[in-house]
Amino acid sequence: MDTSRSYLEPSSFSKKLAATIIIVYTVITLIPISWMVMTSFKNVNSAISYPPEVLFEPSLEGYVNLFTNRSRQSQEYLDSLPAPETWYEELVRSREMVITGPSKFLGRYSNSMIIGFGSTFASVFLGALAAYAFSRFRVPLKDDLLFFILSTRMFPPIAVAVPIFIMYRKLGLGDTHLGMIILYTVVNLSLAVWLLKGFMDEIPKEYEEAAMIDGYSRLQAFFKVVLPQAMTGIAATAIFCMIFSWNEYAFAVLLTQFNAQTAPPFIPTIIGEGGLDWPAIGAGTTLFLLPVMIFTIILRKHLLRGITFGAVRK
């Protein structure tokens, strides 16, 4: 009898099977993303060539087009200009164009940053306070309130788009950063309260009691003792909130045009000569992907622990 392996360990066959499934799934998921990244490094022609080019000569044209506005000029005019000073000017000239100024992309991108991080911070902060209260105090109608909070997630947010649109116009919140931060915070808050309440419940109340005996007020104890221990939960919650508000498209299209427009509604509208500028769109989406990716990688350690946290009673 083979006694060399434990019955708790999966067999090497099931390990291999699991690995194969994961690899296949990863490849399928990565194909569109890698196609997007590849498109961002193609030039306009190879991006739309048929059959699609898998091997191509990389170019930064998409990124240059993403960040600049350009206009086509006659060859004589181009010849009359002084020699191009930078590599991107040279690239644009080779297409018989000149740069007329920066595009709106950076502005939209920073709107996304402000609104994404702003609403994430607000959701997590308010969510943590509410979760703590629900976890520690005798709140009247606690269960009903928690269900009520959860019920705000039971319909797709876009179902209330029209009333919100009208309300925002009347309140002057349309196309403002504050308006979008409030909107995304409201949508995320129920998730944040529920997730964080689970984590708060896991933290023994003796820690705050110890801090209060050590001379701290309850609020100080919350910040100095409870929050640091809830970091896992906070990280996990922050990632979920960030992913939602960063990617949100429908409300952004509806409620923002100029001041507070985020990147998702802006990127698909990048139009070059004779149609959509696919390399620029690829470049935009690639850059759009980065912050959430970096944010998630930084918090990954917490996220993994966060999702499985509390599964096993210590």
């Binding site: 023994p204 003796e206 820690y207 009691e209 110890a210 801090a211 209060m212 005996i213 050590d214 001379g215 701290y216 007020s217 100080q220 100095k224 003792v225 640091p228 221990q229 970091m231």
Partner: protein, 360 residues
């Protein structure tokens, strides 16, 4: 350091009364133990002294000040939790300095005090360690250290040795006692372990069902228990009780059980009813051939220096502590007799011990 006084203290949770009308005075520099089975209200009493629970009624005095309704942070006491509650995101040094930071001490003062406490508790070599890497005993010491850096008015401890293994508990017991002698702090200590209570306490309060049954020195609690519960809870094994269906009259000094007259200390109190009990500790009983209660040997436990012999009688099992040379066989017929007059009669209606020449 201060004395602690609680007056008519009561605490209810909804319909349940956890602490009933309790009165206690804990003297300055005293090591005071609240002892009782779980659910007896000892921890609730301690938490009210700490300010972690607010009393339903009654007063708590810390020194001369009435603190019953003050926040925990305003009371200047220290609390050692059963699970230590050391802040896991800070290292030992930061755990120790955490209470001092709040009180606005200068950096150098904090450093001196932390080092002083660490030295006293012999944890100065692990000041920079993480809490998670410490052993149970070291965590215990850090928890004590966090309590004593502040030099509070009183130390409150809620079963601080409860999670340690037996061997270590004994060691920490000794250390705690020594620490108490060194710093002379008023200490209120909660435990359900009577041995711990006996070895640590200057005075013990035994609680049951939310009431303080008796508060006195360990030897008095052991030898002259005020109620039947105290008598059975304290001691290992507990006191033997023999139910007697007869009233006790004043000046009575003999008691007839199963046709045999036993002499008892002269009674000074009349029993309320006819169902009373006769209480005697196992070490005050001996085996005899005649003139005792008849029974048969049910079991023999060998304890190294002593033997405990369980005798089955018509009044239930009676435990007798004998010396090691006594040899009896299972089922052998024996008789049991008191070897001195450390005998207490408990009133069947009130469960209280009756006054006598011994219980004066």
């Amino acid at each position: 350091m201060s004395k602690i006084k609680i007056v008519n203290l009561q605490k209810s949770f909804g319909d349940f009364t956890a602490v009933k009308n309790s009165n206690l005075t804990i003297n300055d520099k005293e090591f005071f133990v609240l002892l009782g089975p779980s659910g007896c209200g000892k921890t609730t009493t301690l938490r009210m002294i700490a300010g972690l629970e607010l009393p339903t009624s009654g007063e708590i005095y810390l020194g001369e000040e009435e603190v019953g309704m003050l926040r925990a942070s305003e009371r200047d006491i220290a609390f050692v939790f059963q699970l230590f509650a050391l802040y896991p995101h800070m290292n030992v040094k930061n755990n120790l300095s955490f209470p001092l930071k709040m009180q606005g001490y200068s950096r150098s003062e904090i450093k001196t005090r932390v080092e002083e406490a660490a030295k006293l508790l012999r944890i100065d070599h692990i000041l920079n360690s993480n809490i998670s890497s410490l052993s149970g005993g070291d965590r215990q010491r850090v928890a004590l250290g966090r309590a004593l850096v502040r030099r509070p008015k009183a130390f409150l401890m809620d079963e601080p040795l409860g999670t340690l293994d037996a061997e270590f508990r004994e060691l920490m017991c000794l250390e705690l006692k020594k620490l108490h002698i060194d710093i002379g702090a008023t200490t209120v200590y909660v435990t359900h372990d009577q041995l711990e209570a006996m070895s640590l306490a200057d005075r013990i309060a035994v609680m049951d069902g939310g009431e303080i049954l008796q508060a006195d020195e360990p030897s008095v609690i052991y030898n002259k228990p005020a109620t039947k519960f105290v008598a059975s809870f304290i001691g290992s094994p507990g006191m033997n009780f023999i139910n007697i269906d007869q009233g006790i009259s004043n000046e009575q000094s003999t008691l007839n059980i199963e046709g045999t007259d036993f002499s008892i200390p002269k009674q000074y109190e009349i029993s309320k009813g006819k169902k009373n009990s006769f209480g005697i500790r196992p070490e005050n009983l001996s085996l005899t051939n005649e003139g005792g209660l008849k029974g048969s040997v049910f079991g023999v436990e060998y304890l190294g220096s002593r033997k405990i012999i369980t005798v089955k009688t018509n009044f239930g099992e009676i435990k007798v502590k004998t010396d090691i040379s006594t040899s009896v066989k299972i089922n052998e017929n024996v008789q049991v007799k008191p070897s001195n007059d450390n005998i207490i009669i408990f009133d069947g209606e009130t469960d209280k011990s009756l006054k006598s020449e011994f219980m004066n």
